[in-house]
Symmetry: D2
């Protein structure tokens, strides 16, 4: 296989990319300037050393050159972020979306997945052990966790995951010490009442204000 055939195969592993799009990428690269290809290759290469998984929140992050030794992502290392609040998300793109809103100043934890119904060993699907450890460690510090907020998708699997986490965490951390909450359900931007479903209306009605 020559480089272009090999590349087409590699691009097929990219999320959401099929054979046609992979071919399009290869032709695009072949026609692009060598400078661009050089930059692209160099930065993918650099990712090998710079990509890291944060010891605290488990999200992947890219170390800056001056942070060679860092084992914490920028948010976890940031002393200005509120240690008392921990928001549980599924993946990094969720953190990006929330950070963009600028309404949250606490910490995050990346769960990795949602929990399908009837999962026998949850700890093989989601990062529950690491979450429990993080909470235990925090409770022994001066600035303790005071609230855990679930920012999971408003789907059946999201509900299932929240139920499991609520049960597991309240047994472990004791609900008297740490408040556990979930992002409110309600009308998302753009929703017309004509299309409201039972669950969304129920929550939007109960929390009207």
């Amino acid at each position: 296989m020559n480089p272009s055939e090999k590349l087409q195969e590699l691009f097929l592993k990219f999320p959401g990319i099929g054979p046609k799009q992979a071919a399009r990428f290869v032709y695009f690269l072949m026609r692009e300037k060598n400078n661009y290809k050089q930059e692209l290759a160099k930065n993918i290469e650099a990712l090998k050393d710079s990509a890291n998984i944060c010891e605290k929140c488990l999200r992947v992050f890219s170390k800056n050159i001056n942070q060679k030794e860092s084992k914490l992502c920028e948010i976890c290392a940031n002393k200005m972020r509120d240690e008392r609040s921990l928001m549980i998300v599924v993946k990094e793109l969720d953190i990006d979306a929330i950070e963009k809103t600028k309404f949250y100043s606490g910490k995050y934890f990346v769960l990795g997945n949602l929990l399908p119904f009837l999962t026998e060993k949850p700890s093989e699907v989601i990062n529950i052990r690491e979450l429990v450890n993080l909470i235990h460690t925090s409770l022994q510090k001066e600035e303790k966790i005071e609230e855990i907020i679930f920012a999971l998708p408003a789907t059946d699997e999201g509900e299932n995951t929240i139920n499991y986490l609520r049960k597991t965490l309240s047994q472990i951390v004791g609900i008297e010490k740490v408040k556990i909450s979930t992002l409110a359900r309600g009308l998302s931007s753009g929703l017309d009442i004509e299309y409201v479903d039972k669950n969304t209306f129920k929550e939007a009605f109960e929390h009207r204000g």
Copy 2:
């Protein structure tokens, strides 16, 4: 024009129907049994007498044969519905969606439209006069309105309409007497956190629980 050409023209006025779909309807009718056509024509004809606009909530409704004299829709005429709660919606389909959830047992009012920004004469766009009258009348009764709930779409025009109504109604009815609320914003069913917008996150975060 023969009946089929005339019908095609008439179907073009149906909401969301273009020329191709209108033609499809006509061919469908031409091939259907005469019984079906008879039934359809008869019931459209019957709508002339039976369709009515409810004097209280302004929604269109279809009178049953035994309700010939009724000037109120089924919900407004229903003594079991809670008079103390009034939900403001844009159109009948919104009421249908909310009724299907079975979480609301109060009354409704149909606004007719949303208020575009910079509307000079709101009373020509939305049924504001009728709403004010309805509230005034209710306040003189024994079972008074205690809460007005806005169930309007989570859009900019929806916000604009809510702002106008809050201001207008609080001047007129006095906020000490009647509570004014809006369906909560938050995560609608199916929403992934990755796609959450600023406004939705803000509300979902503030009303977490």
Copy 3:
């Protein structure tokens, strides 16, 4: 059931219409002027007498008032149309699309359906008997059919139907007397070469010119 409930049920039978759209139609009608409802009902009613199936081509058509006795559709009754050419289509909308192009001046025949693979009794699915009769009758007239053209969709079922018709008709009418042809396959308007499939390219290449 009152007229509006009954109507919603009847609209559900319209092609491509689900419960939400059916409800929308009913609310639209309830709010429309009585004149419009009257016109609509009157013309649906009129369709009972005016809708007819053409004795020759089997398409449904709407008789004009001055054609009360007509058993032939406008095209079949039109002496200016070329009797020597017969185009086989599935349904009336196909005729409409072809007539709009103004490139065809012959006659049509409506097959009613396509033939799924492995159909045991084709004559129960498509109007094959009526087609054979039409051709036999024509061959005894002075202005005989000289060409039969298949204008069927470019799909597997379309191919299957064409194969069946070619075989059946050539046995019956004798290919020496009547030419049998099919609309050419090739690049449809808007098709980019990048998306061309095997069959389309083969035909477009072989008939290049």
Copy 4:
């Protein structure tokens, strides 16, 4: 900027990729094994030397290691391909689609673009000079070009390009020596007659068979 930020920026230049998808690619790479990243970087790097533009057909191609000196793509270098037939396409993906059908065994030429209406200097938009040169050179060889086939999209810009090329080439090469043809228009796979447009029907009808 760290490597992940830089990469996100670089992926934004990929065809059809927006900010969200670019971020998704970066997170995907960060989580992938170093082996995969290494392979990807290596092959993008390798493309710098291996990517080449074919001297004859102008398509980009990737040289194999044992073809270091090659200035011709695989198809142009292949003696088994028929030199007498030249198919004009817009881009490499068109060649891929046609090659997959296995119905064509001649050569290709990549035009680079379509010609928008009213283009003042066509030679700055499409590779017309190179095409004319290629034809001239071929006409002096033993195995001459005998046919030029336009495989351009069935769009207005495609038509415009074909018109320009037909005029220009027939002046230059002399139509008596070289046949000029275009892929046939007609029904593409999947097209229902109900949606046929004027141009497609005209061609499908004229080339029926």
